[in-house]
């Protein structure tokens, strides 16, 4: 088995706002191995993106603060690095793809220039070498005729092409960890499938570890080796993709599974989880899912469940699981 590249331990990221403290990420732990894709799944506003930004240390300051935990990348705790040191990690060791390809490219530079910027920042190469790197990054993302596309401005490209260009920027310095924040949400189904196939291929070639943030279980099944399910700032279940799909243990995970529309089962109205996720400003005592949980017991709203490993690599935080 590959070695663990990134290990996040007890990460707590709070936002200090006028209305109170928002506990966006409250004790999240997971790891990502080299050459592996780890999916982070959850509904909107459950802390997926904040977890990603915490790893890059790009939280909107001064409101967002990492108040606890460790982020260990290959033996180095990123939270202890000086900000100039951290800058050298960004783009080179850890890279990220944002959600919307239409706006994540600078409209006034050509695609080639924008890839070249990252290459120049981290590799200190001569101009000719830079161009080679730019072309090879575009090739890696399977962009046709890279020599032509690199001279195009973002507005001249289609959405799918732009998203690949964004991917080329992210991959240009051969990062070891790639964080993809719902990169396929803005694409249509066909392009989405191509994009995912492309990343699987890139992972095979480069052995990059991918942390894939999504709310789409279809994408998870297709792309991820292991999955962490997040709810209200916590990871409530972690397992291999196979196990999550076969035997989800946490009631939230199974509820999520049930609310995915399926082609092979005819029937009734699509299941949906009743109620709303709790406000991150004012969390209930006990288990966060308690108010919506169909199988809750007394202990669930008195004490927060701790994480238990029920089988090799399958972690659940629920009182019902023993």
């Amino acid at each position: 088995m590959n070695k663990v590249l990134l290990r996040v331990e007890g990460l707590r990221t709070f936002f200090f706002t006028r209305k109170g403290v928002v506990k966006a990420v409250d004790g999240v732990s997971f790891y990502v191995r080299e050459g592996e894709t780890f999916g982070l799944v959850g509904e909107s506003a459950c802390g997926k993106t904040v977890t990603a930004l915490s790893i890059l240390r790009l939280l909107p300051e001064p409101a967002g603060q990492i108040v606890g935990g460790k982020i260990i990348l290959d033996g180095t705790n990123l939270l202890e690095l000086h900000k100039n040191e951290m800058r050298k990690y960004r783009g080179k060791v850890i890279s990220m793809i944002l959600q919307d390809p239409m706006t994540s490219l600078n409209p006034v530079y050509t695609v080639g220039d924008q890839i070249a910027e990252s290459v120049r920042l981290h590799q200190g190469l001569h101009d000719e070498k830079v161009e080679e790197e730019v072309i090879s990054a575009l090739r890696l993302l399977k962009i046709p005729s890279p020599e032509v596309i690199m001279r195009d401005y973002p507005f001249q490209l289609s959405g799918g092409m732009r998203q690949r260009a964004v991917g080329a920027i992210a991959m240009s310095c051969h990062p070891r960890l790639l964080i993809a924040d719902e990169p396929t949400t803005a694409l249509d189904a066909t392009i989405q499938a191509q994009y995912i196939a492309l990343f699987k291929d890139i992972q095979k070639k480069t052995n990059v570890a991918i942390m894939f943030i999504t709310h789409d279980f279809g994408v998870v099944a297709n792309m991820c080796h292991r999955v962490g399910v997040m709810y209200a700032g916590k990871i409530i279940e972690t397992a291999t993709t196979r196990e999550i799909f076969k035997a989800p243990k946490h009631p939230y995970t199974s509820a999520l599974m049930n609310s995915v529309p399926r082609l092979d089962q005819k029937g009734e109205r699509l299941y949906s989880i009743k109620g709303q996720p709790p406000s991150l400003r004012d969390l209930p005592p006990g288990c966060r899912f308690f108010p919506r949980c169909p199988v809750a017991e007394d202990i669930c709203h008195q004490q927060e469940p701790s994480e238990v490993e029920i089988s090799q690599g399958h972690f659940v935080s629920c009182w019902r699981v023993k």
Binding site: P62, Y89, G91, L98, Y109, L121, H122
Partner: protein, 296 residues
């Protein structure tokens, strides 16, 4: 039955050609006007038929040559102390153009730097810089200029200093707003992700995206600077006589506007040309700099 519309492709092509020629004209004409005026300013001593300060009382208030009573010796007539208007307009180009060029260079640079730093950095830096900007905007510029003229003595550099001292503030305001908007843009987040430093983000990612409003502001300032200089000259805090600037010439003729309109009219015309040329050129430049419009 529906009628089929036949597209005449030759017409379409000639239409786009006309458009292209027109768009080139909006570049050629204003730049020709500006170039002409700049060359006039540079070669003023060779072009002007008379020195700008040559007084000749017998020839006073002579109308331009195309009006009865005018002579070709004074093509655009003379002012109330017999100075040749044409010569003074030509010499005035030197002062008026160079002042607006210098003032705009100073104010737009300061305003842009302050605005970008303020907008991108945010927090206390932003609060501090914006309060300084507010204070600058609150001061009445004419009074400050008068104060400067009183302490430093009127003169060319006093005018430059007086207009620049407060003139950067509107730029800072505008640019800060743009920078504030761009700070949240995804491509700026992307730049942070690849490890760009704040300095680099401000220079390489924010600045090129605020060039459009900056250019528009610059072109609009040309007229404003020339007019401010005119006001200062009128109040005795501008370019001291006998030197000619377009502004002080317009003011010289103010009291005689119904009898000897040419004293104010021709320098006014020159101001109008510069302002319009600036605006047209600004428009053209904006279209050219916007990659979205570049290849249409």
């Amino acid at each position: 039955m529906a009628t089929t519309k036949v597209i005449d492709w030759d017409k379409v092509k000639s239409g786009t050609r006309q458009k292209r020629i027109f768009s080139n004209l909006t570049f050629i004409i204003p730049s020709a006007v500006l170039l002409f005026l700049i060359l006039t300013a540079i070669f003023a001593p060779l072009l002007a038929p008379y020195p700008y300060d040559q007084i000749s009382m017998p020839d006073r208030l002579m109308p331009p040559f195309f009006i009865s009573g005018g002579t070709t010796a004074h093509l655009l007539g003379t002012d109330n102390i017999g100075r040749d208007v044409l010569s003074r307009v030509i010499y005035g180009a030197q002062i008026s153009l160079s002042i607006s060029l210098i003032v705009i260079a100073i104010t737009s640079s300061i305003g842009t730097v302050v605005g970008i730093i303020s907008g991108y950095t945010g927090g206390r830096t932003d609060a501090f810089l914006m309060r300084v900007t507010d204070i600058s905007l609150a001061f009445p510029p004419i009074l400050v200029a008068l104060l400067l003229a009183a302490t430093l003595g009127p003169g060319y550099w006093t005018v430059v200093l007086a207009i620049s001292l407060l003139g950067w503030a509107p730029y800072a305001r505008l640019i800060r707003g743009e920078a504030l908007k761009l700070r949240e843009a995804d491509f700026v987040a992307q730049a942070r992700i690849i490890g760009a430093s704040p300095m680099r983000i401000m220079v390489r990612h924010i600045f090129p995206n605020i060039i459009n409003p900056l250019i528009i502001m610059v072109t609009l300032s040309v007229g404003m600077v020339i007019l401010t200089e005119a006001i200062l000259s009128y109040l005795g805090a501008g370019i001291p006589p006998p030197a000619a600037s377009w502004g002080n010439m317009v003011n010289d003729g103010r009291n005689l506007i119904d009898s000897a309109w040419w004293i104010s009219f021709f320098p006014g015309l020159a101001i109008g040309f510069v302002v319009m040329a600036g605006n047209f050129l600004g428009d053209w430049l904006r279209d050219k700099l916007d990659p979205k419009l570049r290849q249409i």
